[in-house]
Amino acid sequence: MLKISGLKAVVEGMEILKGIDLEVKPGEVHGIMGPNGSGKSTLARVLSGDPTYAVTGGEVDYCGQDLLAMAPDERARTGLFLAFQYPVEVPGVTIGNFLRTAFNSRREEELSAMEFYGLLLNKVRELGLADQWVNRYLNEGFSGGEKKRNEILQMMVLEPQLCILDETDSGLDVDALKIVSEGVNKMRSPERSIIIVTHYERLLEYIVPDKCHIMLEGRIVLSEDGIDLARRIDEQGYEHVKQQYAAQTQA
């Protein structure tokens, strides 16, 4: 599904990604952890085509296509979805209208408003939200938790192939975290891959990954199958990995 090789990216002249290698197969869930400033959110944003970042090297193959050559909206239409860490507010645009536009942008034939709202309201209720949610302006005046839920709602409606969740757990209380995780777990399928970028291990207890990676200073420095790596980080912090990495690079 996704093969990243030697990916480098800069923002404002600073190199944040210093050569990322990662392969995600269909149906897999990957957890990417790392301390603040390790570049994990940058990776998520670069994959989605955020114009803030400039790619300076490497390649990304997405289902046989050159991902980096595609505009952000093309990437989205081929099935790449980023659940943003900080979703922006778009005043005056209702969630319903926005999602319908997004939904129809990837279809040959538009779904009628009636049909679309039926589909949308099902997902809204699944996430424990009130029907009026769809009439709210996109992220405007939302609490942190509401924004995160709204990201997951979009993901559930748009049904992407590759989901990238950027710190989706921050700002969510335990109950909301459970609901959101259930939503994501329901989307797990042999055809769909999920990358979960997170600072804490907690989310990975709810959405158990097939693989975990640790990022440090713009590189993936440690990868393991299963959730054990994430649990070790939760117990011991990143300090141990940092020292190991420092020793490795010196050696």
Binding site: P72, A76, V88, S105, R106, L158
Partner: protein, 476 residues
């Protein structure tokens, strides 16, 4: 049906050529039963009045206005009027009645635009000047009957003068005197067409009065004159114009709209106009609101070379309320100088102005507004919000808020904001699969949502579609 005038303010299709007919695209064969000389003279005014068979007092009013027009200098503020040539304009054209035309004769480009805008068939035929084909005639007749039963008068201004001379004589020019400004003087001298609306005491009109129904029967001119009188406790929503591109046959559109809201009455006047890029759109709109009356102007301005328009409410009676909600969209070569005026004369009056402007490319939009609170207007309240959205680096916006307060107990608030469509907003929408132009249009539609949500649904949809098309640069 008879077509009296050459152009329809807010509705016509235009050509720079003289002799372009009402429908707006050029037709060299069109014959005019009367065509005044180009330029303005006392003789031209006398001819207009004579053809219309007007009473002496109206002729006198026109001549007095003309005299003032000659004396009055061009305004030195607002937009650039330097290139406006009054002598090259035809002030009155009366085509021969009933040109047989059909929808098939309408040029493809115009049909396409209507198609893109999703304008209802009925409205399209009117806009294209092929009213004869208009099959909503029955709808119109039913409405007419309902209005008649309630005592509502909804005619074109010429017909209003013929059939209700007393009411017209009592109110005409009382809200906006010819001496108000150079363009009100011009309109007063040469006016033709427009609407005359009279709503009797206590009558609540649920269905908006839509000018295009009336226009179907009698086409108005580019110097149209509208007078709306709403008696005590009555309510009317009047809708003028529509969002189809309006091509004027002359480069000057100068209308006057007067509204009188008697005690406890409520009037809403909505207009969305989209002028072709050669037009100077210089309009004076003013309402008087008596005790506890409410007047709301909803005003959308798209296109034109220069628009200068500042709907006003004189809050003359205690507890009167005024509101102006306006949207302006300026692109390359266009200047929208728009805003509002609220004149608080009586105690306990309140007003609100929300002005939203969008500037694209080299477009320029200015907010120019006045809030005046006269001494004695105790406890008057006014709130002004103007938001400008710039789509490009070179786009320009200015704000000229004038606030004059002679009353200590008044409270007046003013907020102005300038913003740009943020890269992150557009990126966010694109990340969901929405192409860039649509993403931009979505942000813009959200920006004007506080205004569009006040419009009847079909107009709101049209306005949004139109702006989307404008942003793609594909409206011809």
């Amino acid at each position: 049906m008879p077509i009296d005038e050459t152009t329809e303010a807010g509705q016509t299709v235009a050509q720079p050529e003289i002799g372009a007919y009402a429908a707006g695209w050029h037709d060299a064969d069109t014959k005019y039963s009367f065509r005044a000389e180009p330029g303005l003279s006392e003789n031209v005014i006398r001819q207009i009045s004579e053809i219309k068979g007007e009473p002496q007092w109206m002729l006198d009013f026109r001549l007095r206005s003309y005299e003032h027009f000659l004396k009055r200098p061009l305004p030195r503020w607002g937009g650039n009027l330097g290139e406006l040539d009054f002598d090259s304009i035809y002030y009155y054209l009366k085509p021969e009645a009933e040109n047989a035309r059909s929808w098939d004769d309408v040029p493809e480009a115009i049909k396409d635009t209507f198609e893109k805008l999703g304008i209802p068939e009925a409205e399209r035929t009117v806009l294209a000047g092929v009213g004869a084909q208009y099959d909503s005639e029955t709808v119109y007749h039913n409405l007419q009957q309902e209005w008649r039963d309630k005592g509502v008068v909804f005619l074109d201004m010429d017909g209003g003068l013929r059939e209700h001379e007393d009411i017209v004589k009592e109110h005409f020019g009382t809200v906006i005197a010819p001496e108000d400004n150079k363009f009100s003087a011009l309109n007063s001298a040469v006016w033709s067409g427009g609407s005359f609306v009279y709503v009797p005491k206590g009558v609540q009109l649920e269905i908006p009065l839509q000018a295009y129904f009336r226009i179907n029967a009698d086409r108005a001119g580019q110097f149209e004159r509208t007078l709306i009188i709403v008696e005590e406790g009555a309510f009317v929503h009047y809708i003028e114009g529509c969002t189809a591109p309006t091509y004027a046959s002359e480069a000057l559109h100068s209308a006057v709209v007067e509204i009188i809201a008697k005690p406890g009455a409520r009037v809403r006047y909505s207009t969305v106009q989209n002028w072709s890029a050669n037009v100077y759109n210089l309009v004076t709109k003013r309402a008087v609101a008596m005790e506890h009356a409410t007047v709301e102007w909803l005003d959308g301005n798209i296109g034109s070379k220069l628009t200068m328009k500042y709907p006003a409410v004189v809050l003359a009676g205690e507890g009167a309320r005024g509101e102006v909600l306006s949207v302006a969209y300026a692109k390359d070569g266009q200047h929208q100088d728009t805003g509002a005026k609220m004149i608080h004369v009586a105690p306990g009056t309140s007003s609100r102005i929300i002005s939203k402007s969008i500037s694209k490319g080299l477009g320029r939009s200015s907010y120019r507004g006045l809030v005046r609170v006269h001494s004695g207007a105790r406890g008057a309240k006014s709130n002004v919000e103007c938001d400008a959205l710039l789509l490009d680096e070179n786009s320009r916006t200015d704000t000229y808020p004038y606030i004059e307060i002679d009353e200590d107990s008044a409270s007046v608030g003013h907020e102005a904001r300038v913003s740009r469509v943020s890269e992150q907003q557009v990126f966010y929408l694109m990340q969901r699969g929405i192409p860039e132009p649509e993403a931009m249009a979505l942000v813009v539609s959200g920006f004007i949502e506080p205004i569009t949500k006040e419009l009847p649904l079909e107009y709101a949809v049209e306005l949004n579609r139109l702006i989307e098309l404008e942003m793609e640069g594909s409206v011809g």
